[in-house]
Subunit: 342 residues, 4 copies
């Protein structure tokens, strides 16, 4: 079969012919239909310091996928040939405290497909049953493959009260955009969004932002203060990882509000803990991954019922073989999600 | 001023000229713009056994209203002339365990406007500050006056998880219809609705029900079983008060699901506690009133942002003087909410 | 090895020599040290209607155990020889909605050890890794083996707020007694307990009940009313399954309170839903099993730290071979938990 | 009457004869029996920069008290002469979003007794009904007067799951000590405590710490790692306000754990948000004040039932007139709480 393989410890990746894998005893072999490119894939492709420290080539890349089960391992109990499925990128141990108490997203034994073990950028993908989720037939593969990152946004938005809450989303990369769409679909409002580019702010408007601010020229703090009677918003979803945005996130929240931090800063962040966190009685959350599998079921329902429409965020569809062009789109920042059709 | 007064212990009510009341020290005088008729008003109007046991005429009727502050008492701190406001029908004591721990909706010292003390079916209404909520200017008085019963529906729908949950609403009177609209606005789905009349099921579809069942001819249990892979729905909102519907509510819920009971049965209900409640690990809630004031803030936001549109449920607008016609509409069941313009 | 086997479809059970089982690929073989007798075992032993409809002899009985791992299957990841372990009696599917969202206790595909598949009343027990929990070395096997039913009580007591809450426990069988001990250990108070026998009410006092009522002679409703300023208790834990107690449970709870129903009634129960549930805004929960595995981790910590002492509830220790005497103790009602030393 | 008055903008305070105040219309006049000295009083006494910027002398100091109602205002509804009461130091507006949704502890219109308005260091104290809580007769005034700071600890400890959780308390001033006692009373364990002084670590042991670390000599991070299998604790309660302790708090928590920050740092804090917060999926909370009035009811019950014993933390009792000696004890750090008998 064809696969996009990280073959060596250098930038780039190769389209290779590799053997079709065998399904695990407790898993399935999937014929992949659509995959999408994650920022993580982009790091692996570019072979940055993080990738060089973690990835051991050769490895088939990718962890965002949708496809059809074509073979089932002998011990798999819930899967059958023909099932239309997607899957969780985090392969967790299942036996630790976190896995056994609903916090598998912070399992310390997590392996990531396409990073620590072979992934889904291929015609076929062998995956354990525990990582597989069934899709609703109404959700097309090009949308279903994006559920792993969409799940990040669902987890972030729903990590506290959100219905009827005012929200600020800082950073309109794909997951920030997803978060806006989710917040809108579940009755949050008004929704502010900030980003540095007009391209992404236009997408933010398309998926439901009520107010946008192109930072640093436009001051979202002033906008929010004016729009909330000086209170601040109920919920801040920090998706940029920019140090000033993280600091701003605490200031934007109203006393008693929530700040969910998902964007990953590359350096330490200095915070006014007394004024901006303690005296305001804020709740600040580190958001990583998705709830296994509460988030997936909620997401599946939102997509299947049509309450949530994330199609505007899928900006580019490319044939599988043109993955390098997809990576360049990622580099440009002039894209939402890039999907490859296998 | 003109007021609709329950003057004697018999069916009916009178349009009377009465003195404009004085605002309480810690309250306001409001120029009423719109009021809506509650089932409770209908009971008082008809002077049924419950009304005869509780109401002491003469009393100005009504507790669902929207209007403008025209005078402020000397100790009121948060109100000013010109404020556009509505209010909570339950006047709670503020000092008991329940009031002081976020459960004021079950305060045992509750008085109800228009029942235990003068209400809002009048040109002017004197109301304590603690019962007043400010409206968003974008929400018209004919909608804003319905927030008290809408709050019941918001409280019921949001009394547990609802986002991405499958829901069955049993009984499509006004509060059932509100509950459908709320569930839809916050991303629930699919939504089943049952009622005995086509009129109300048509309204149910207008506000977002995905599936309807006209009981007893159509079997919602079969519909739900077929649509949920035999599981049952995540959430049942029982709004009818019919004994068979309450029994059915437990059967309709999936193992681990939630049943919120708001419709009030007129007799004891026999339940299969073992099979339908304990072995399924259900949560069953008694829903009364609204959370003071969490529900109001959530509702205000949903209406102001436009995420929630309840206008189809407002089926009849009448001049204030034609309240008797409104009561007859209530009797017919061929209506959603009936609003009187003062 | 020796095992207590339900050999035929009639009352009784036999001590038999049977082959030592093989550990499952993803599990372990355990040398059993202590087991305790559950009411379910008593039903199987007596071959009542429920047992006759479900159990298919021959089957090794029992599901409450503590022991030591002596062999590990090739795919087990978290276990090693020498581990001191106990386990969950519910063998759940792991793949359904409930299992994947923290509600495995109501998995519809549950099998119970000693009922649907061979159990632990034997020298050796073969058990899948997913059902095994590690014990703290400070907790003796005769206590550790009781964790499955203790878990029911922990789940019931902790199914809502409990710290600083007034509690009524109706029914002081072993799980009711456990519930009293748990409530006491986590700061609940005052605690009322009711039962029909002095023997069990004495045990209730030993594990922390502040007030006791021998029903039907003594009126717990009056006691609670006097002790709570007429409010009722914050939390009712119904552990008896008696119809009058279930009805009473709703009346005992204060407005806004919680009623957790665990005792299983043998017939339908007629409830005043309007007065006793809706107008009071109660939350009523069906409690079955234990949270997998939140309950187990909480319980392990409470036992290991010594905050929770359930030793008074272990009233009888017998050699394994004297299981028939243990069953007769169960019949008499003059016991707490009966433990067999293997 | 005698009162301890901050008379001028300089260090110190004076014992003065002042007029007995009049009870507010909606409040009571209380004969004060016991008061305790808060760190805030110490700041006011010393006239530090914060005090100089906020306090406008003359003002009667103090906000931690217990006493008896001797006169009731005409509009007070829940109080009567002879009631044994204490009260909340934060006088909140009652009308803002926060006050109306259970977050009055972060009301932006808060006034503090003894800081912004006359306080309780006097023979008589005039206090609005909304700030008064009734005490249980079993709790002596010298304990009851400490409930305001004890409430901080209850709020911190109970701001998330705590039952059966491992806990680290950083900083053993009075509120840290209270937090240890509360955690112990509600079944947390094991409990680690750190402080810089042996005096306070001895107190920590007396109220229930399982392990202590005298920082900086002893390394609590190593202790916790060894005691939790390298995981970290479930809950960290940061009570010191020291910058290194706040940084350490995030490292001490296990993946998925909770960090409640109550100690107030005097400068910005640099945090490794990526590694220590986001990747670990932590929840970090700013803790200020107490929940109005959930915390008070929980605390009242814990004290009345005897589950919580904070008497070891009351280290010094002085006559009212010797308040200056009390302030010197505060300065020395060789004390728990200092109570003055009025």
């Amino acid at each position: 079969m064809k696969a996009i393989v990280k073959t060596t410890g250098a930038a780039g990746a190769d389209l290779r012919e590799v053997p079709v894998p065998t399904p695990p005893r407790d898993g399935a072999l999937v014929r992949v239909k659509s995959v999408s490119i994650c920022g993580t894939d982009f790091h692996v492709y570019n072979w940055d310091a993080w990738a060089a420290g973690r990835v051991r080539p050769p490895v088939v890349m990718g962890h965002e996928w949708a496809g059809e089960v074509v073979e089932v391992g002998p011990e798999a109990q819930s899967l059958k040939v023909g099932d239309y499925v997607s899957g969780e990128s985090h392969r967790v141990c299942g036996h630790c405290l976190q896995c056994r108490t609903g916090q598998g997203h912070v399992c310390r034994n997590t392996q990531i497909f396409g990073v620590d073990t072979n992934g889904c950028f291929a015609e076929y993908f062998a995956v354990p049953e525990a990582s597989v989720l069934k899709n609703d037939a109404r959700v097309r593969p090009e949308i279903a493959c994006m559920q792993d990152p969409l799940g990040n946004a669902v987890h972030a938005a729903l990590a506290g009260e959100i219905i009827g809450q005012s929200v600020a989303v800082l950073g309109c990369g794909p997951i920030g955009l997803f978060a806006i769409a989710v917040a809108r679909a579940v009755g949050a409002g008004p929704i502010w969004a900030s980003d540095t580019t007009d391209y992404r702010l236009n997408l933010a408007c398309k998926v439901g932002a009520d107010h946008i601010a192109r930072v640093p020229d436009e001051n979202i703090e002033t906008q929010v203060a004016n729009g909330t009677d000086g209170q601040g918003v109920d919920v801040v979803l920090e998706m940029s990882g920019a140090v000033p945005a993280i600091q701003q996130a605490l200031r934007l929240a109203r006393p008693g509000g929530r700040v969910s931090l998902m964007g990953i800063p590359s350096q330490a962040v200095s915070l006014d803990i007394a004024e901006d966190l303690i005296f305001k009685g804020l709740t600040v959350q580190g958001i990583v991954g998705r709830r296994l599998y509460d988030t997936w079921y909620t997401m599946k329902s939102l997509l299947a019922s049509g309450r949530l429409d994330v199609s505007p965020i899928l900006t580019h569809r490319l044939p599988f073989e043109e993955f390098a062009a997809g990576m360049e789109l990622m580099r440009s920042g002039q894209c939402g999600k890039v999907v490859l059709t296998v």
